[in-house]
């Protein structure tokens, strides 16, 4: 990490796209950068935090991060924010209006699409914002381009007074490639230029800004025709030519090295003139873009015949092994998919919660009362509660949705569900991001919801980042710390309905949850143990199983801790003739955190501190 900050100009470094962008943001003289963590964009801000001369923040959500960047731009400084694709939905309100007023200091938004959904709840194409918000879209394909285009984005932003989107995908953010870096060019803030007719958007001022925005569209449409971020890569073979962007363009070049390729660096506005020229020169034009047929539809609308999603998949990555056979089939060079041997059948390794995770206990308890409860969930590690062995999560939509959805379920449930309570499960960071407003709605509208606020003092899923509830800022420095109990009380939950519970004290957690579900008003139960992957977590004495004491009852397996392993399975027949599978277990002592959770579930008392185990299974 240090090398990224200290490497002198002209150094060639192996950088991820995210790291390359961070270096470029710093070199561009950016004053302020903000983000809310989100895969695959998280490391941009994490890396920027190592550069002391950029004021780098974790924002509470993406909307605020964009507003911070806008503010910096209005002050005449360069402002930057980064987010994952769904983050821009949250930030869209700010974007859609600020685009009318435009930018002063360079204003750049890096937005990362999770093509193929490796860690997201949907697969949406951020390039739509180009047309919707009248902003240019730059699309790098690798680290060097991510670096180059980010620097250029600031220049374009200032030249055209427009916010600029740098559209990334997971394969840009997380691929490491060689990148030659440059020098930091300081960029002094030019000062806040008082101009209420521009910066105070009201119907009257906004109406006057509209023609200016349309003029800007025209100027950008002219610029994209000459912009050197888009390049014509030559090819002798004129049977087929390609228009492609991002990592898909690399796949195209590798699969068809002899075909001409217009590689879009600036993909909105589209350089229709350059595309028309290519179309004239080749027999067949194929548009290769991840995810939606945005360029393809615009090219067709311009009266240029082309292929695209008629031959290529509508979702997922357009990698070499996808693009090549699909286009060859389109060209009639390959008739059917190659006959391949069936792939080896190997069990899945689904994501699991961590050993000793503080979220295990709430789901263990919820799973026990499964028949009497509807559970609305949220975005985070705890979404895994929907899976084996808990099956204790009924909905997940978007950040903070557990609150409003719980309220809607409670108000809307019919006779079939009348005896079921409604529980909302949300993490600390997600609650601060967008859950607070929903809880306010619950208290204001007298919802009878029991909220489990799982405070593990980190944004866990993205790697344990800090937030306003952790008491530390992005650089690990002490920061003002919000108190969740006080916060939910301020949001209207009665003091006696708020409980802070150690989740590893299973009986207390279970009792508290049952008690609060019986009370017909909003309650909040806050669990207070840290994520096992952050530095605040402290391991305790690990446990092991007394082999001859384990009776195979399987209760501990319902905790779902990956350190508990089945060593032997047997089928026993009860006196009534019913068969029962017995699972005899061991504990992987090397990984066990000593959280004590499984000990609470063990009838025969077979789980004991590893140091005292008499024989058997220590690994």
């Amino acid at each position: 990490m240090n090398a990224i900050r200290t490497a002198p100009a002209a150094s060639r470094l192996l950088l991820s796209g995210n790291e390359a962008i961070a270096r470029a943001v710093w070199e561009a003289g950016t004053a302020v950068a903000a983000a809310y963590p989100g895969t695959p964009a998280t490391e941009i801000l994490e890396t920027l935090a190592f550069f002391p001369d950029v004021d780098t923040h974790w924002a509470v959500n993406e909307k605020v991060s964009l507003e911070v960047a806008i503010g910096a731009s209005l002050a005449g400084a360069r402002g930057f924010c980064a987010m994952k694709h769904v983050g821009l939905n949250v930030a869209a309100d700010a974007l859609m209006s600020q685009t009318l007023a435009g930018a002063r200091g360079g204003l750049v938004i890096a937005v990362a699409d999770d093509v193929g959904l490796s860690s997201s709840q949907n697969e949406q194409d951020s390039r739509f914002w180009g047309r919707f918000a009248h902003v240019p879209i730059l699309e790098p394909a690798d680290s060097q381009e991510a670096y180059d285009m980010t620097k250029r984005a600031f220049e374009i932003s200032e030249r055209f007074e427009v916010p600029v989107l740098v559209r990334l995908t997971t394969r840009v953010c997380h691929v490491k490639a060689l990148c030659t870096v440059g020098e930091r060019q300081p960029h002094a803030a030019t000062g806040f230029h008082l101009d209420p007719n521009r910066w105070v958007l009201t119907p009257a001022t906004a109406r006057r800004r509209l023609p200016k925005m349309f003029e800007r569209d025209q100027a950008l449409a002219a610029y994209t025709e000459e912009c050197d971020l888009t390049v014509e890569l030559p090819g002798e073979d004129r049977k087929v030519g390609f228009v492609a962007s991002g990592p898909a363009a690399l796949a195209v070049r590798e699969a068809f090295p002899d075909a001409p390729l217009l590689k879009l660096g600036m993909s909105h506005p589209l350089p229709i003139g350059r595309i028309r020229k290519l179309a004239w020169a080749v027999d067949t034009l194929v548009v290769v873009e991840e995810i939606e047929p945005i360029a393809e539809n615009e090219i067709r609308a311009a009266g240029i015949a082309c292929h695209g999603k008629d031959a290529l998949p509508r979702s997922g990555e357009l990698a070499f092994d996808i693009v090549r056979p699909a286009v060859r089939r389109l060209l009639g060079e390959e008739t059917a998919p190659a006959d391949e041997a069936a792939p080896p059948a190997v069990f899945p390794r689904p994501p699991t919660m961590c050993v000793g995770c503080p979220h295990l206990a709430p789901y263990y308890v919820l799973a026990r009362m499964r028949k009497n409860v509807l559970i609305s969930g949220d975005i985070g590690c705890y979404t895994l509660g929907a899976g084996h062995p808990w099956n204790a999560l009924d909905t997940t939509v978007c950040m903070g949705a557990s609150m409003g959805i719980a309220l809607g379920i409670e108000k809307g449930k019919g006779a079939a569900d009348k005896d079921k309570g409604v529980v909302a499960v949300i993490g600390d960071s997600t609650f601060l991001h967008m859950g607070m407003q929903g809880l306010l709605d619950i208290t204001y509208n007298r919802g009878n919801i029991t909220v489990l606020l799982l405070d593990n003092r980190a944004v866990g899923m993205t790697g344990g980042q800090d937030h306003p509830g952790t008491g530390r800022d992005i650089r690990g420095q002490e920061a003002p710390k919000i108190d969740f109990a006080q916060l939910v009380e301020a949001l209207g939950v009665k003091k006696e309905r708020i409980h802070v519970v150690n989740p590893y004290e299973l009986p207390v957690l279970s009792r508290t949850l049952r008690q609060e579900m019986a009370v017909p008003e909003p309650s909040v139960i806050i669990t207070n143990q840290p994520c096992v992957l952050i530095d605040r977590f402290q391991k305790m004495t690990p446990f092991a199983v007394e082999d001859d004491q384990c009776n195979g009852c399987s209760s501990c397996l319902r905790v779902g801790c990956p350190a508990i392993l089945v060593s032997r399975r047997e089928t026993s027949v009860a006196p009534n003739g019913k068969e029962k599978v017995l699972n005899f277990v061991t504990i992987d002592t090397a990984f066990c955190t000593g959280c004590n959770l499984c000990v609470n579930t063990c009838g025969p008392g077979a789980i004991v501190p590893a140091a005292t185990v008499s024989k058997g299974d220590r690994r």
Partner: protein, 208 residues
Amino acid sequence: MSGTAFKTTDVLVVGIGGQGVLTATEVLAEAAIELGYDVKKTEVAGMAQRGGMVTSHLRFGEKVMAPAIAPGSADVMIAFEAAEALRCSPFLRPGGIAIVNTQEVIPPVVSTGLFKYPDDPVGEMRARGVRLLALDAAGIARTLGDPRLANSAMLGAAAEHLPFGADLLLRMILRRFSTKRPELADINARAFEAGRRAVQEQGLAAAG
């Protein structure tokens, strides 16, 4: 970027989160950079922090375009876990070679009876015609006193089958320790050598 094909060496490193897959690929990438190659490296890591499958793709050559290795085109696969080796073996090109740690990491979905672990992953790969060299890297590491040494043992086993030369690869490993943990250099060099020897005695001839 002229209109010619892009010739690369493709190395796939696979295993389970926490086994050191990403570190091993970093070392290989550094060796390729040392030789002046263009390099791209990409990971497909599951959401699990520990226990999930991890595949790391490394491509190097004069110019690398796409970062991910296409199925059927890896020159070398370095697999830290036997079932993951079997799962990813279709990535190998005909004539490619797999370096396989015979260690088996049993996930909860297997131990609780939902799925079965393959009876003999290495045998199944051989039956599928995969050229492979197998070693007990975990055993080597245990013998040398630290499970983390499996990483250096695996790189040692792969050393003769990569275009770097074993000396350069070992130098790249040791460079990582020289600043932070110089006391670990010697034991890692021994693990590297043990891994290398473990496969030297095996022939590839039987493989089809």
